[in-house]
Amino acid sequence: MALHRALSYFVREAALNLARSWKISLIAVSTIGVSLFIGGALLLLTSNLERLVSDWRNQAKVIVYLRAGMPARAEGELAALLRQPAWVTGVEPVSAAEARRRFERYFPSVADLVHGWGEEPLPASLEVAFDPGRVDGAAFDTWLQRVRAQPAVGMVDDDRDWVRQLQSALQVVGALGLALVAVLLVAATFTIASVIRLTAYLYRDEIGIMRLVGATELFIRGPFYVEGLLQGVLGGGMALATLYFGYVVLMPHAPRTWLAGALAGAFLPARDQVLLVALGATAGLVGAVVSLRREDV
């Protein structure tokens, strides 16, 4: 019960301090809010891009282009070979004429390129769909080599290659974002530390009196720790609210770019929302502890 009473005293004093020096507290809260907003936006972007890439990975295919003039029997044998592994979920033959029609449909501005040839300009192919969850990497590569070695096969396209490259690029972007957020958070932590130290300096006479009457250091510093924590939580809440406002109100009016599309996928899951606020709280608390670690405060 004594602990409960001490905590409620800390919270009350911290709230009073925040209200009393609200201008300077607002600077600290805003600094941490901006850092976490940038972090949250990056998290939103990368999580949606990851989801997008994951969808693409699930839809990835292996396209086996056939040599021109191969007999139907050879195509049938190749299709049978392609169906053998357990992870293959389907093999769809695409004739040369169908390939041309698709080209015309997907790239209408350059459709002329496939017109006026004496024969079909694009090769026929077999599109192999597979279940990425069941794929064994090494066995898949061996199987792919066997397919490439077949006399009926002209070329093999593996969608997983560019999905892998995209994932790597995404990881680099994520790491850079993380580094940026870390730097911003450190800056925000120091801002909070300065604000708390300034507040403690303003109340140094009172702190001296508290020590004289027998208050322990924890009892004296507790309100300042809670003040830092509250500033961090408020900063995190501010970042989250701004992010949500931007997502719900501004995104529908944003120009239709791939970036806006990626951001509009889904808002941050509850776990990431809690993470943002927890990061703010941690930065605030660390700032307060750092600012008061010296004995003279």
Binding site: M1, R5, L212, V213, G214, A215, T216, E217
Partner: protein
């Protein structure tokens, strides 16, 4: 209760605030500490409540060796004593009640107990009706009585006061000293630093006289002409306070 044994306090630069001080104040005693400005009175009191540590010597307060007390234990020492200052040292943004109930709050007492203790102590100093006032709304004498209430709220065994009437007019000073006597009658050891010779002579208690950091005399003003032990105290006192 308070035992100084060959205590010295030197500051960087060679200033000797206290030099080889030894004395003992017994439980339930009332003693004055006197001397001119710079004699070392405040330093001596600060050593008692461990605001300072001695350069050499031993200090026992209520059985605790103050000089070697770990920093984390200092708050617990201070809870056994009340301290009163010339400038009151009240927290201006807190009410009289909040100032007085701060220590009970630190001790984790529930709200009811905090209220009861604060009210009873303020009633003892005659300020129960000013619970909700802020310090700056009170007169100097009232502020000092609040400071005394804060010092008494945990029923300390020792009360030390540093020039408690320095900022008060004679009538208020008289009231404050009456309060100290009453506190002492209830068993609290009281040590008051003052250079007000009229008060010292009128109250007729033990006097520790300091000058330039050294103990000039230790005795009783009233019986100074009859006790060999006190020989030299009056001259020392007069010399100490420049009277």
């Amino acid at each position: 209760m308070i035992h100084f044994y060959r205590v010295s306090k030197h500051y960087p630069g060679g200033h000797r605030a206290l030099d080889d001080i030894s004395f003992q104040v017994e439980r339930g005693e009332f003693a004055f500490l006197t001397g001119p400005s710079g004699a070392g009175k405040t330093t001596l009191l600060r050593l008692i409540f461990r605001q300072e540590v001695p350069t050499s010597g031993q200090i026992l307060v209520n059985g605790r060796n103050v000089a070697s007390l770990p920093r984390r234990k200092v708050p617990f020492l201070r809870r056994t004593m009340g301290v009163v200052f010339q400038d009151f040292r009240l927290i201006p943004r807190k009410t009289v009640f909040e100032n007085v109930s701060y220590l009970p709050r630190v001790l984790g007492f529930d709200g009811q107990r905090q209220k009861r203790l604060a009210y009873e102590t303020l009633r003892r100093v005659g300020l129960a009706h000013r619970l909700k006032a802020f310090p700056l709304e009170l007169s100097g004498g009232e502020q000092q009585r609040v400071a005394i209430a804060r010092a008494l709220v945990n029923q300390p065994e020792i009360l030390v006061a540093d020039e408690p009437t320095g900022n008060l007019d004679p009538e208020m000073a008289r009231e404050i000293f009456e309060l100290f006597l009453e506190i002492n009658r209830r068993g609290t050891t009281v040590l008051v630093a003052t250079h007000d010779t009229r008060v010292i002579e009128r109250l007729n208690r033990r006097v520790l006289a300091l000058r330039a950091g050294r103990m000039l005399g230790d005795g009783d003003t009233a019986s100074s002409d009859s006790s060999a032990q006190l020989a030299g105290v009056e001259p020392a006192l007069s010399e100490a306070v420049g009277g």
